[in-house]
Symmetry: D2
Subunit: 399 residues, 4 copies
């Protein structure tokens, strides 16, 4: 595997900078939960949606397990049961609560979870200020913060799922705008020439192992849209019978539509000829210029077929990404989530982070307004199973 540059090692006084970033990231997680009632923290309405309480604890468990237990030999765990309760999928680290059971665990309660966060945070800040951490342990902190940023986005999608599936549609925050992002200008197609392109992370700063190795790909001529698709454009597809005509759909997508009686993106409802959607700021009429989100890969692909276009590959997307604005929503690509040339999983539990998910999922590129500022980059590879709708996921056309 090629040598990855370590941004941490290059900065003087790096641990103090990390403390600041640590505090900021950890605080944002709690800020996201501030509008919640205790009851909202507990439930898991579908397997994919975890209880907010679990996100709070699991991100904390990551730091406790992979950093504190390593750097402080005498460290006392906050609670010995928590490894069992809040491990997610790190098979290396011990028996874990099955993902589908997360929503049945009412204790420890929310207050205890916040106490857990406080306890771990204090130990970490103290350790970062007083101990000399190895570069490897500082990278764990970085990974933990990136991990927490990912969970911040999941917290927001999961909170939206929980409140948005309550028949009384509670408002999360009347001023929240992360899921109402207008697209202002007109759409053009940008032409890109064929040739060899370099794909994958380069430069300084953090990156995940799934962005490595930077490598060459040969792309043929293509065109890509300057804008993501809007709700208004997508409603045209719906009203043209898009969900009733198999010819726009993959075979698996058509089965998904029919078995689940899908007739629109998640959170979208037609009432007496007007389209509404549930947003984090409440149930509202749809603004047609808003960036489309909450669609599955199947829907993204069917919409593209209806437009006589296609989805870009992740390579096309990345190669062209300096030529358009992105970040309104995650954008489904027509690339499966597979390893880059030279990809190797790290040893131990950290190695389980990305590689073992490299099957059955499709890559999304870009980023959403739910993401922590600066969390995404044009080499970032997000990935989900193709039927999932609950993410802030939309699309951009290619041809």
């Amino acid at each position: 595997m090629k040598e990855i540059e370590n941004p941490i090692a290059e900065a003087p006084n790096i641990q103090n900078q990390i403390v600041d970033q640590f505090i900021a990231v950890r605080k944002r997680t709690e800020d996201i939960c501030q509008p919640l009632q205790k009851e909202d923290y507990v439930v898991q309405p579908i397997d994919d949606v975890s209880p907010p309480k679990w996100h709070l604890a699991h991100t904390t468990w990551f730091f406790e397990t992979f950093f504190l237990s390593e750097i402080l030999p005498e460290y006392q765990k906050f609670d010995p049961d928590f490894n069992y309760l809040f491990n997610s999928y790190y098979e290396s680290v011990g028996k874990r609560v099955l993902r589908t059971d997360r929503g049945n665990i009412t204790r420890p309660g929310v207050d205890k979870i916040y106490a857990y966060r406080k306890y771990v945070d204090e130990h970490i800040v103290k350790a970062l200020r007083e101990e000399t951490a190895s570069q490897q342990l500082l990278e764990i902190i970085q990974l933990g913060l990136q991990h927490e940023m990912q969970h911040q986005e999941l917290l927001l999608t999961d909170i939206k799922y929980i409140l948005g599936h309550n028949p009384i549609f509670p408002v999360y925050d009347a001023n929240c705008e992360i899921d109402r992002i207008p697209v202002n200008s007109n759409t053009d197609f940008i032409a890109v020439d064929q040739g060899i392109y370099e794909i994958g992370f380069h430069g300084s700063g953090f990156s995940f192992d799934n962005e490595w190795n930077r490598h060459k790909v040969y792309l043929h001529d293509f065109e890509i849209s300057s804008q993501p698709v809007t709700f208004g454009e997508y409603i045209d597809f719906v009203e043209d019978g898009g969900y009733k005509n198999f010819k726009f759909w993959h075979s698996d997508g058509w089965a998904w539509v029919n078995q689940n009686k899908i007739a629109a993106p998640m959170f979208m409802y037609e009432q007496n000829g007007t389209w509404f959607r549930y947003t984090l700021s409440g149930y509202k009429p749809i603004n047609p210029n808003d960036t489309l989100m909450h669609i599955s890969f199947y829907e993204a692909s069917a919409y593209a077929a209806w437009k006589d276009c296609r989805l870009p590959t992740e390579y096309e997307w990345e190669a062209a990404s300096d030529l358009f604005a992105w970040g309104n929503c995650w954008e489904w690509t027509n690339s499966a989530y597979l390893p880059y040339p030279g990809f190797k999983t790290a040893a131990g539990a950290i190695g389980e982070y990305n590689g073992k998910f490299m099957i059955n999922q499709m890559v999304l590129r870009g980023g959403s307004k739910a993401s922590f500022t600066g969390h995404s980059r044009n080499s970032y590879r997000n990935f989900f199973h193709p039927h999932l709708q609950w993410q802030y996921a939309g699309l951009r056309l290619a041809k």
Copy 2:
């Protein structure tokens, strides 16, 4: 249908007495929830177990819908959404939240539910003190209180399920003894002669329509045990391979054992040769003299077969019930839950109370320590599907 005596009508000053009973029953429901954290109120780990919050609201909805809206023409409902959210299975009263979705509804929160209870209680107490209620409406109050007593028992079984399926086994109340009831004397079989017996409710006081009409049955000679089966006796069955030998089991029971890998009653665990169980007062070694509970009908029947005995019918149980002590646990009988001669469902939503469940369920007789004092009687017909274990249900042998 025969004329049912109305105990209410016979008492002078009956409404004041009902107020006292109303306050006492409503208070006990809240007392049961006193040890809970807010998080415990929300979840529904399996379809059969409802969130405690839901029980609190649903029992209140019953009084609001069937009494307050009738007696007070100007009554303002606490919240118009609550009919939709907290109706259980009264198809007549409007669209309802599917039973399997109850555990996804985090709002309204617990505080609002308690405010709902307070609002409805104040209106009812005031109405009972100031308005003259018809006999029919007083019977609704009686039915509502009996309904709430039934939900008190379900609250306790559901709380036990929720806490008892948390891997850290939280204690509900260290002093709670309702699921630890020792049997003190020795077991005898009591002989009963054949002949015609009268079965069904008689006398004064409340009874459910499923206890009517009192009618004649012919019973042949039988013997019935003076005591319910204990944990110690049942452990002999388990350790003799009772769960591994099809010949003790019904065909459906054997399939249930194998498909669900059942090896013991719910909440019971073997560790290094010692048997433990989760009780509302915590996870503890089993006292062999305690009354067995948390078994399914299939297990009750298999145990009886292993003892070369059988379960009594509900008629035998009732005919003999003055000859033995009962009330440690609900006791599975070998009678299906079916109507008595002359049974008629009442018109309207109240008529949905019992009759529509008269298929696929088996009758349990007796009562448990979780029941409100005086709630049960020897003609009371409890009923559950034969595979369910989460009730305080055991058995008494017959032959």
Copy 3:
């Protein structure tokens, strides 16, 4: 258990009579299959429907296992694999092919199964002619023949299911009338007085253990219809919205209707305002005077509720059975299939015949034209799960 009269023991030359009966019963099974193509013998479209080939082999296996292997010490089994393949549910007799897998077993082929029948039949006829069988073994022959008569009826229902679910609706036999039985006279209600009645098998001839012991029951005054319900009468219920109004249905029945989108009895279809049904003689317009069949218990019970009547209990049915004609169809009763007083299962595999099914099933009384002549009697207790429609099952009203 009370002493059962043995009809076999009382007849002189009994073994010769049994030979004649044996040959007649075995022949009828093959006659039933005569219209089939080899392809029809193999499939199992749902768990409840067994492949015709399997019925042919399983009934033969019964005689081979319980009679030939007992009476002839030197008997060579036709094929040692057949015990594994064609045991149904006798857990005592060895590992068996799971019921849901019966439809995947293409070998042994149909010709080999007929050779198996011939081989076993020849050995049995020879043994009955040459050996002196104990009374117990002669009872096994009797039980085997009754068992085969039961499978003859299942053969016909299973063949009807297989052909009737083929989109091209093949005709089984253009002249077959067993599922087209007109009711000729008018319906009356017959009143029966309360009192003690004797229920259960008496007299001579064969009976199953589930008909024992004959015992006393006390019945209250009731009325029972002189006729089963017809298709014409049931169509009135369907067209009155019977399948769309929860109030006629048990709670479990209403769930069954909605989950399975049931809108009519099995094999019944509405086309442009005319009702058709698939019969063994083909797809035809419904004759309204024909006896209704292919309904579940839930439908029977809902129809009765719509008529403001109820189903009779099996005791009422038997007590009144001399007062009306029966035998057009099996008639659902409102009695659960449970043991009579004094019921004991026999030791060994034969004991598995009836007792282990005494849960979750409802009793049907009467008999159908698919039954072997003389197979049924007024104490005969047929039983099925309440959701099943594929039997020749209808109903008779009571009140």
Copy 4:
């Protein structure tokens, strides 16, 4: 879409050559079925396995629908129901029998299906001899023959599944060797240099639309094994606990192993320390030098991880394919089945052939001995869902 060379148009007397090929391909399908009994033709033990009868009819339906009905205006269909019964997944061509119901359809019987084949074949041969077919219609014949060759392989895998899941393990053909292919030489890794490679079909002869457009890819240095993996090599993985260690598996693969209790490839059994497998020539001890087959993608990938290698991508495989022998089995690659640059679906039903399956499936390259001679080529893209084992699928290592 780029212009595809049409091999048909270039040959003189092309229709006569096509007749010969048509007869040869159609005959091989029937030859494959020659060892079957009629009963074997009917069943569908799992959704993925179609009844042999269905394959015979469906391949015929293809020619009838897309060729005969086009070229002969007066053509009388053999049976109007057959479009409904034997369409597979061409949504454009009318209502079809659900794939999961194929195994319930016993009529039309096998003889009628063979009559259908004869009828269609005679019409086609006559038409090819007497009519002048357009190039487009000749391409339909070509596509139909390629389609039938694909179904020949599926016939063999489906027959193997049906017989191989019968507990008595019937022999298909004692001399059949298509699933017993020894690997004779030693394994080496072949190094391939980085650079731009051309991928996709070129040259003359038939190809599928999923092989187009031929396009450039950039490959980095890699090594690929000269041989596929053998049973002996794979048994080392099994015996080293490969199925019990999550670290070799994708997350979805590990769930698949555990939910389905997978412990070995399909058809492979350990008895007293010896490994056996079911082959088309019977149940036999495993020859360790035989080419491994009947593994899922998950197993292929886990084995490669255990060897500290990986699977090749389909591009690497194709680029290197002249450097090694292939054709013992289909070889799982680490490439998802996705469109090549410039891929377009054809209009109408033929366009449903490939494109709509381009999600959730992984590409296999090579070919098996079950394939028609000359059917495969090094640009051929086979594809299956990653959990499927019933194909003749193995793997080749890369690094």
